[in-house]
């Protein structure tokens, strides 16, 4: 046991970067997979639609911790020796894709049907309709909830500490074990999460408000 020093604080701050790196990795990779999920969910090919809906249901309907355990223990059974980084990245990518895919599907479906019909009438093919007409409009309404989900993702990375992945929460645990000052360490950890998440929350709210204003103005025109 030793007193909580500035170096301990630096250790925790240093581990924060792994929280950020994991969040960004999961966001980018999960975003790519989530984009595919969203497009499959609105496809006219029923099996693809069902498979994507099943994926979302399965991963939104089960605990993230279970998904982590299954990937961490599961894949090693099939001879894949995964490091903690790989396992955690895969798990969070799958998790983020389920939520982003669902959010983006909603945004694509919020675009009026007439947009599809009009672009069809202009003889655009499906991919052209999707990428040139629908997506540019859907992206605009997708940004606020996507930023909101990023907050959820940053917070979700704390669960990775349970399987021993060293990020912010795990660093806090290690420092608590070393200094036995939980009343100092955990509030600091919470404060760092707050410093990461709060600006994003405020930004998401701001974007949402602006979008609402734009919608009202647009309708008045």
């Amino acid at each position: 046991m030793r007193p909580f020093s500035f170096n301990d604080f630096l250790f925790i701050l240093d581990a924060t970067r792994w929280t950020i790196v994991l969040s960004l990795l999961a966001f980018v990779l999960g975003g790519l997979l989530g984009g595919v999920i969203a497009v499959l969910r609105i496809s006219s090919f029923a099996p693809a639609r069902l498979a994507a809906a099943g994926y979302v249901q399965l991963f939104q309907g089960t605990p993230l911790l279970m998904q982590l355990f299954l990937i961490y223990y599961g894949l090693s059974l099939f001879g894949l020796r995964l490091g903690a980084w790989t396992a955690v990245t895969i798990a969070y990518t799958i998790y983020a894709a389920a939520f982003l895919g669902d959010i983006w599907r909603g945004c694509i479906q919020a675009i009026p049907k007439e947009q599809w019909e009009a672009s069809r009438a202009l003889a655009l093919g499906y991919l052209h309709q999707l990428f040139l007409v629908i997506m540019p409009q859907a992206v605009r309404i997708a940004i606020p909830p996507t930023v909101g989900f990023l907050v959820q993702l940053v917070k979700a990375t704390a669960v990775a500490s349970i399987i021993g992945f060293v990020e912010l929460t795990r660093a806090g645990q290690l420092m608590t074990n070393a200094t036995f000052q939980p009343m100092t360490v955990y509030p600091i950890v919470a404060g760092i999460y707050f410093a990461l998440c709060w600006p994003l929350s405020v930004w998401a709210q701001h974007l949402e408000k602006r979008l609402r204003v734009e919608n009202v103005m647009g309708r008045k025109k």
Binding site: T62, P63, M66, Y73, K155, V189, Y193, F194, C197, W198
Partner: protein, 222 residues
Amino acid sequence: MTYVFQFGIVFDHFPQLVEGALLTIRLAALAMVFGLIVAVICAYLRTSGPKPARALVAVYVEAVRNTPFLVQLYIIFFSLPAIGIRFEANTAALVAMIVNLGAYATEIVRAGVQSVPAGQIETGLALGLKRLQIYRFIILFPAIKAVFPALASQFILLLLGSSVVSAISANELTAVANTLQSTTFRAFEVYIVVTLMYLAIALAFRALFAGIYWFVFIRGRT
């Protein structure tokens, strides 16, 4: 490399898993009831309470919504004893779940409260009702009806998130699974079965919410 799945061992210990699942359900159900009560009170304070109360609720909501549930759990279970507040693991888990859900649900209920047309509130004022009476008899019911789907998904998120309380050795479903996998060395089988149990519990709760919605808001009201 070939791996032979052996689910038999898991099913030999199925009664233990069911016991863990029952605790998970009990924790979630209690947290939902108390979390909703916290939310209804806080949403009132946030919208029509005195200024300091409004600010206090805003701080509570923002603090909880921008930090991980796991860290909130650690603060309640590990930090609070340092200032003399001590909970047993299962109680700490329940308290953390109520605190967490209370904040999210406050925001949701508040959105519902603000969706009630001003005309209805003015009608209440014209009838000489007091603020609390207006909240209780005019606003609350349609407010909760309007945001019921959002509340239901928040409840499900809480149920699934509750698996992390195993980290403070509350003996719910995930904790039972952890014990079981360390004694049987069948991690994959144990976690597959437990994951499916969570899925089943989540689906059951979803059906229950649909039933509650119909029973409270639809039945006998045309």
